[in-house]
Symmetry: C2
Subunit: 274 residues, 2 copies
């Protein structure tokens, strides 16, 4: 692979701000890599939409990211990873990873009692993608799935350490405790921001799996194996670019609260043209 | 106006299921009218999106509704009423009403102490459309606005009579009570479904204004004044048709819980083609 390709950026996309938790893990784990981030803020959330719609959206976004010269794509959205990754990978020669498979693999190897919980949006949970992938690895594992649709708006309200959020978490996670899972997958990009509260509710003996972190690790291995790891450049430019389909003020606020950078330079594009 | 036009349906649109609370008021108040309902389920919610995006979406939907031969259009979405009504009305000869002006007018005439509260999504509240319209009617009125982004997902979880929802309502409405509003506008289509809880939190002395109901009353007056009231037909067909941009199962579930009809015949259309 020529040096030019290795120096190209990683494309990362999500339905909105949530995928920034994945971008953040890539920034931490692969600091030599550049990132082009796209958040589909005009059409979020993906969690309540159908497979067909998510596939159409994902194809448009991949066409846009290709115009930015990306060398690989990370689908940072669980719903799009569930609904679109297999098909868009087949259609395209760019290396692509999602967040589901890395998360599922780590969960399957972490469980001792063979009981894994998966929490996510209605779309992710309804697709059973985590369950199906975990069972392919080990059919003896029992997977308990639960949609937690209030977690995203609670995070977006910044009610992170809050009695109401605690009660919502206790209600949503009650079944997981009754089912005695020893491993819980945070199957939505927003959920790592509730990690400490979810950990308190579930207790110390339950391993929390963060697919955002695992996806960054997987990306590292993928780039190494394909000879695409960025050797580092002398360029002084800011290595991260952010694009959205709708320039809502809330994107910037939320992004600035997650990332140690000011994302004020975020650009709006018309994604339906791609 | 010819009889053909009067017998045409009313077009009603919203970002999703919420506008069904408006459709329901039209069904109750104007039982001779047919309705073509469009819910933009592929691109909901509108509340967090920009004026420009909402205007583009509204234009597409109006073009679709015109292909269905509607005689008038009700914008059942507060955000779209706020961001798009004035412009699309100018662009188009069809009579159009939104939910904001009817709600604002009734609130302005209901208040005794001149202190009105408005609750809604971030988009509606951030646009200050209720405040601006109320002040045009009476500049002495004080309007206190508050975004309540958790109310929609709480309603969609069906946690209608629930201790968690009660606490969220108490937190969101605390300022309204401190500010001693005597009138509160339920400025989001989902909120009438929380009417009894909001009423309990605010107390008996506060008048709750439901723009969905007021919009149906306004539509009645508009049809009368334009000679467009349906005289009633001998047709036996079911008078309501439902279209969505994404056929998520949750649309049907929610619709069936709001309406006394089975909306299983809902059709999906590709709204981006309009």
């Amino acid at each position: 692979m020529d040096r030019g390709a290795a120096e190209s950026p990683i494309g990362v996309f999500d339905s909105g701000v949530g995928g920034l938790t994945v971008a953040r893990e890539i920034m931490r784990g692969l600091p030599a890599e550049q990132i082009v981030y796209f958040g589909d803020t005009a059409r979020l959330p993906y969690g309540s939409k159908s497979r067909e719609t998510i596939l159409m959206f994902s194809r448009q976004i991949i066409r846009f990211l290709q115009t930015q010269g990306v060398k690989a794509i990370v689908i940072a959205c669980n719903t799009a990873s569930a609904f679109a990754l297999d098909e868009v990978s087949r259609e395209n020669s760019l290396p692509m990873i999602g967040v589901v498979k890395p998360g599922a693999r780590v969960a399957a190897s972490a469980t001792v009692n063979g009981r894994i919980g998966v929490i996510g949006t209605e779309g992710t949970v309804g697709s059973h993608i985590y369950r199906d992938f975990i069972r392919k690895i080990d059919p003896r594992i029992t997977v308990i799935e639960k949609a937690c649709p209030l977690f995203v708006p609670l995070v977006e309200e910044r009610w992170i350490h809050d009695t109401i959020t605690r009660q919502v978490a206790e209600r949503y996670l009650e079944q997981m405790k009754e089912e005695q899972v020893d491993t819980l997958v945070l199957g939505c990009t927003h959920y790592p921001l509730l990690r400490s509260m979810i950990g308190e509710v579930m207790g110390d003996r339950v391993t929390l799996v963060n697919p955002a972190y695992e996806a960054a690790q997987e990306l590292k291995r993928l780039l190494d194996s394909e000879g695409l790891t960025n050797p580092g450049t002398d360029e002084k430019g800011f290595p991260y670019r952010f694009f959205v389909s709708d320039l809502a003020e809330s994107f910037k606020e939320f992004a600035n609260s997650i990332l140690p950078y000011d994302v004020g330079m975020t650009q709006k594009i018309d994604i339906e043209e791609y």
